[in-house]
């Protein structure tokens, strides 16, 4: 456990503690420092964390949380491994795959539905994914290739994989027949490049049984063992952060834009607004959804598909893997 | 009243038509004046077109005859018929003036 380090004198500290005890009766007065690394660049995908930070939800839980932005050069799981961050966000499939080499556990599942999709142009005439046989398809690296590969294997078709970067330029120039994208991001990017919704023919993984829940908070098993309260607190504050963000979208966008500008990432409000709205769709697909909960049936489904597709040799047990909130 | 004047040799043939009454008699006087100015000495007046003549008309003729006489000319009448002939007879004008039955006869006379 990290000590709260302050530069003031011992006497002042004692005084503050006594005063604090008298004035603010309550548990856990000391702020615990922690860090979380997000698995991509700042954008509305992480609005819940930003809101929780800006609104002081982490602080209220007694956490002085540092949010570390991710990016193309940063592997969130690696940072966890080497201790650069206490917590990390990543996909469920990533977490499951990583588990075999690194003891990570999920302390909160936020994105319940997969936002991954394959996008084609309407005038390419792709009516079903089978039409992609022998065509060039842009596929992302890492965990993003799991769902597409599994799908094509299932369909029994072979495609020409064109590794995709973060750019959609090749697709825009008709260099690939289909491109990978996230519903909350790339799809709207295409719209923001002038393509109308009628000109796009998307295929959602959400509509298949390859509908993998995605973003969740992970930490090393030993962190979870040592600081269960911290874990719970992080998740709780993040949940509150997301709820607040959905209720106050303009504030959430302000918060996101501020961070993006600081990191010199190209940002515009229209795109972030779309992203925030879609995040709401996939974090709270129904009115009655409880944010932050990983359902066992989702876990088991994803595990079995990963094993079936040969990505996973052995799936962990649910309680081993998940220590987040329960319904 | 209308006057149709044509020269025939040294005689002037005047065909009178219309009514000669107190109102139109002055036209006859004017015509007579013009004959005298033109030094006509022999004027044959054809009254075949004259429908009616009153005492004023008769007076006009008398006055004209007197003037012509004074200018060494003479008036000859022809073409009398109907009422006009009767009036000429009754008033004794037929006896006073040279009356012929036709223009040719008057010219010859």
């Amino acid at each position: 456990m990290r000590r709260y380090h302050h530069p003031l004198s011992v006497r002042t500290m004692l005084l503050t503690m006594v005063l604090g005890l008298l004035l603010f009766p309550g548990p856990g007065l000391a702020m615990e420092k922690a860090s979380i690394v997000l698995h991509w660049l700042p954008q509305a995908q992480f609005a819940g964390h930003y809101m929780a930070k800006d609104m002081g939800f982490y602080e209220e839980e007694g956490i002085d949380l540092t949010i570390l932005p991710g990016g193309p050069d940063i592997l969130a799981s690696e940072w966890l491994e080497v201790g650069k961050a206490d917590f990390a966000t990543m996909f469920l499939s990533t977490g499951l795959l990583k588990r075999s080499s690194l003891p990570v556990i999920n302390i909160g599942q936020f994105v319940q539905h997969s936002a991954l999709m394959l996008i084609t142009k309407t005038d390419a005439g792709i009516t079903s994914l089978k039409d992609l046989e022998n065509k060039k398809v842009g596929i992302w690296a890492n965990e993003f290739q799991i769902q597409p590969r599994a799908l094509f294997k299932r369909l029994g078709i072979s495609i020409t994989v064109v590794p995709q970067s973060s750019s959609l330029d090749l697709f825009l120039r008709d260099g690939v027949m289909a491109t990978s994208g996230m519903w909350y991001n790339e799809y709207h990017l295409l719209l923001s490049y002038g393509l109308d919704q009628e000109e796009l023919r998307p295929f959602f993984f959400r509509d298949t049984d390859l509908n993998f829940p995605e973003d969740g908070i992970y930490t090393l098993e030993k962190t979870a063992d040592l600081k269960p309260d911290l874990c719970r607190a992080i998740t709780a504050a993040t949940i509150r952060g997301w709820e607040y963000a959905f209720d106050h979208p303009e504030e959430a966008l302000d918060s996101v834009m501020k961070r993006m500008i600081k990191e010199k990432i190209p940002a515009n409000r229209a795109h972030q607004k779309w992203m925030l709205d879609r995040m709401q769709d996939i974090i709270m697909p129904d009115e009655g959804t409880q944010i932050g909960v990983l359902r066992q049936d989702d876990f088991e489904r994803v595990s079995s598909i990963l094993m079936e597709a040969g990505f996973l040799e052995q799936a962990p047990m649910f309680p081993e893997f998940y220590r987040g909130p329960v319904r | 009243m209308d006057f149709n004047n044509t020269k025939n040799g040294d005689a002037l043939v005047v065909i009178v038509s219309g009514r000669m009454d107190a109102i139109t008699a002055s036209e006859f006087d004017a015509q007579c004046q013009s004959w005298i100015e033109k030094s006509e000495t022999k004027v044959v007046i054809d009254l075949s077109g004259l429908e009616y003549i009153s005492s004023a008309g008769l007076r006009s003729i008398l006055s004209a005859a007197k003037k012509m006489k004074g200018a060494q000319g003479e008036l000859l009448f022809c073409g009398l018929s109907g009422m006009v002939e009767e009036v000429f007879n009754v008033s004794g004008f037929a006896a006073m003036f040279k009356i012929y039955s036709t223009t040719e006869a008057a010219l010859a006379g």
């Binding site: 190209p266 515009n268 | 009153s54 005492s55 008398l62 009754v90 004008f93 006896a95």
Partner: protein, 645 residues
């Protein structure tokens, strides 16, 4: 019923409405035409501007393209060694100052079978040329746009502009050209040549573009991203479509799509960016796939035109007011004298002809009217005076005529029965002059105890001259008759007196008879008079034949004959003037001798007084009130009382 409006009002209303319409038309047309001119000029100048700007940008891009294309071409020579390649790269960069950096990136393991990456990169830094070998686990360039796109498309491309943090946050664009080598007889993709161009001069170039005060130019990338715009926040952050989404403007989205499609147009964009009205000219660049947009603020463009229109309108309105005042003034100038004249006219009409006319001396139609008015009044006055004196004269003459008539009628025997104590005969006469005085005459008197004379006469013409002649004739006849001569001789003497000194050529027809009242023997003479009617009692009336002797008063020395006939008791001699037979009805038909004869013939027991009355009545019935053309005189002489047969 229309309201009465003064001339001033009518003039003003009409002229001002016309002037208003003209003003509106002029200002409106002027505004529209000027606006069109300005718009056309703006469009023209925007085309020129765009052409100039795109030309300049294109010239930079084409230069870079050519260089990279040439390098790519020369790299197809497989004999080049690594060192030669490096040297080429460096030299070319050095020689082309517009290029910021150049890389020559090879396919994995292409040059060296153990070297995954081979991508030398020379770039400018701090005035020198720096070197970097690209490629590594963190820089897997095979999947980057600048490598992947030309590889997949097999043609050169300009990548989307980006902010190069390494180069000091400068906006850059990269031109990548694929090059190929022949391996085993087949053409194979070998790698990519890239040339980086910094775009900071773009900002400056576009900023130089001054369009009025608030106009500006912007540049879009191939996919619509802002790469130049006065609002720096938009650059790279936004595409024209995200901006349209933020502004909730489907119009802007559609314009963006057209721009990306390479179209060119000059369109109004009202209330798109904000609530001002603007015009946008857009066109595409030749290289790079970029689009240029130029914004014109409508307000500023049309400010001059609007000002012009405002000023014109103000001038118009001022002119209007002046015109109105002028019209009213002139109209007043016209209507005031007219008013005065009108008042004077009413005064004069009420009888005041001596009214002093208003002084109106203007040299125009109104002055003419005033003059004419004065002339009219004077001549009216004269006319009335004339008329008054003429009327007075006429009345005097008329009264004299009435007296004359009385005198004339007075000299004729009028008392009937004339000789009630003499049963031997009945005589009855009537006379009706056509005018106040007439030219007809009749008379009857005893020449001696046994002989009764009765006569009738008709002087040529009617009226006063005839009346004079009539009076003279009647007097002469009376005087001469009293000498006891025969009728013929009487007329001979009277004729000779009348014919002497008869300058006026007046003549009188006469019928004179002297009857022996004991025997009924009647001597008579006829000087040109229409034949009387002899009505024997119990027999048929017949004409008493004329003697063919001329009218009296014309031929001096004419001797008249006397004829004799005998009247038996009851016989009537009816003598009359041609006023009877020539009495006309409104259809100008004559009463005629025939009708007279018919009536006389129809009489059963003629009795002189009744007979005359009867004829008189029948004449009146016939003429039906038509104007009397000649004097009507009748005399009936009946011998020895009534005819009882």
């Amino acid at each position: 019923m229309s309201k009465r409006h003064g001339i001033a009002f009518k003039l003003a209303a009409f002229i001002l409405s016309c002037a208003f319409v003209i003003l509106v038309v002029i200002v409106g047309y002027n505004y529209n035409y000027s606006r069109d001119i300005i718009l056309r000029q703006a469009e023209e100048s925007s085309r020129n501007l765009a052409r100039d700007t795109t030309g300049r940008i294109d010239s930079v891009l084409i230069t870079v393209q050519k260089v990279a294309d040439n390098i790519a071409f020369s790299l197809e020579d497989a004999t080049l060694s690594k060192e030669e390649i490096l040297e080429l790269n460096k030299r070319v960069l050095a020689n082309n100052p517009e290029i910021y950096g150049m890389a020559i990136a090879f396919e994995p393991y292409f040059l060296e079978h153990d070297q995954l990456f081979f991508a030398p990169y020379y770039y400018r830094s701090g005035g020198r040329i720096a070197f970097n070998m690209l490629g590594g686990p963190n820089y897997r360039y095979f999947y980057m746009d600048w490598y992947q796109i030309p590889k997949e498309l097999e043609r050169p491309v300009w990548t989307e502009p980006y902010n190069d943090e390494g180069g000091g946050d400068v906006l850059m664009a990269t031109y990548s050209v694929p090059f190929f080598r022949t391996v085993d007889g087949k053409k194979v993709f070998a790698g990519v040549v890239t040339a980086d161009v910094s775009l900071d001069w773009l900002e400056d170039m576009l900023e130089e573009i001054r369009i009025y005060d608030s106009g500006f130019a912007f540049l879009l990338s191939r996919h619509g991203t802002f790469i130049a715009h006065p609002d720096r926040n938009l650059i790279i952050n936004q595409t024209i479509f995200t901006l349209a989404e933020e502004l909730d403007s489907p119009e802007l989205r559609s314009i963006g799509q057209k721009m990306l499609a390479g179209e060119s147009a000059f369109v109004p964009v009202d209330n798109v960016f904000d609530d001002t009205e603007r015009y946008l000219f857009y066109t595409g660049l030749k290289y790079g796939g970029w689009s240029l947009g130029v914004i014109f603020p409508k307000d500023e463009m049309l400010a001059e035109v609007r000002k012009l229109s405002k000023v014109t309108t103000l001038i118009g309105i001022a002119g209007f007011i002046v015109l109105a005042m002028l019209i009213i003034f002139i109209a007043r100038k016209i209507t005031n004298p007219l008013h005065k004249l009108s008042g004077a006219a009413l005064e004069i009409a009420s009888g005041n002809l001596d009214l002093k006319l208003p002084e109106i001396n203007s040299r125009d139609e109104v002055g003419d009217l005033a003059n004419s008015f004065g002339v009219m009044r004077t001549s009216l006055k004269d006319y009335i005076e004339n008329l008054t004196s003429t009327t007075a004269a006429k009345e005097r003459i008329e009264s004299e005529l009435r007296i004359a008539r009385d005198i004339q009628m007075g000299i004729l025997p009028k008392l009937f029965p004339a000789f009630p104590e003499r049963p031997e005969f009945d005589v009855f006469a009537s006379i009706e002059p056509a005018k106040e005085v007439g030219g007809d005459l009749y008379d009857f008197f005893f020449v001696d105890d046994d002989h009764f004379c009765f006569l009738i006469g008709d002087v040529s013409g009617k009226g006063v001259p005839a009346a004079f002649f009539m009076a003279v004739t009647k007097t002469l006849l009376k005087v001469v008759s009293e000498k006891g001569l025969d009728p013929g001789d009487i007329i001979t003497k009277v004729n000779s007196d009348l014919a002497a000194e008869n300058e006026s050529c007046m003549f009188v027809t006469l019928f004179l008879a002297i009857m022996n009242i004991n025997t009924g023997e009647t001597r008579y003479a006829n000087a040109g008079h229409n034949p009387p009617v002899y009505m024997p009692c119990g027999g048929k009336p017949e004409w008493i034949p004329p003697l063919g002797e001329p009218v009296a008063g014309v031929m001096e020395g004419m001797e008249y004959t006397t004829k004799t006939m005998t009247m038996h008791p009851g016989d009537v001699m009816f003598i009359y003037t041609d006023g009877v037979s020539e009495a006309m009805n409104p259809e100008n038909e004559l009463y005629s001798d025939e009708r007279l004869m018919d009536i006389l013939t129809a009489m059963d027991k003629p009795f002189a007084p009744e007979l005359v009355k009867e004829i008189d009545d029948s004449i009146k019935v016939f003429t039906r009130g038509a104007e009397q053309s000649d004097d009507i005189t009748m005399l009936a002489m009946q011998f020895c009382g009534k005819c009882d047969k």
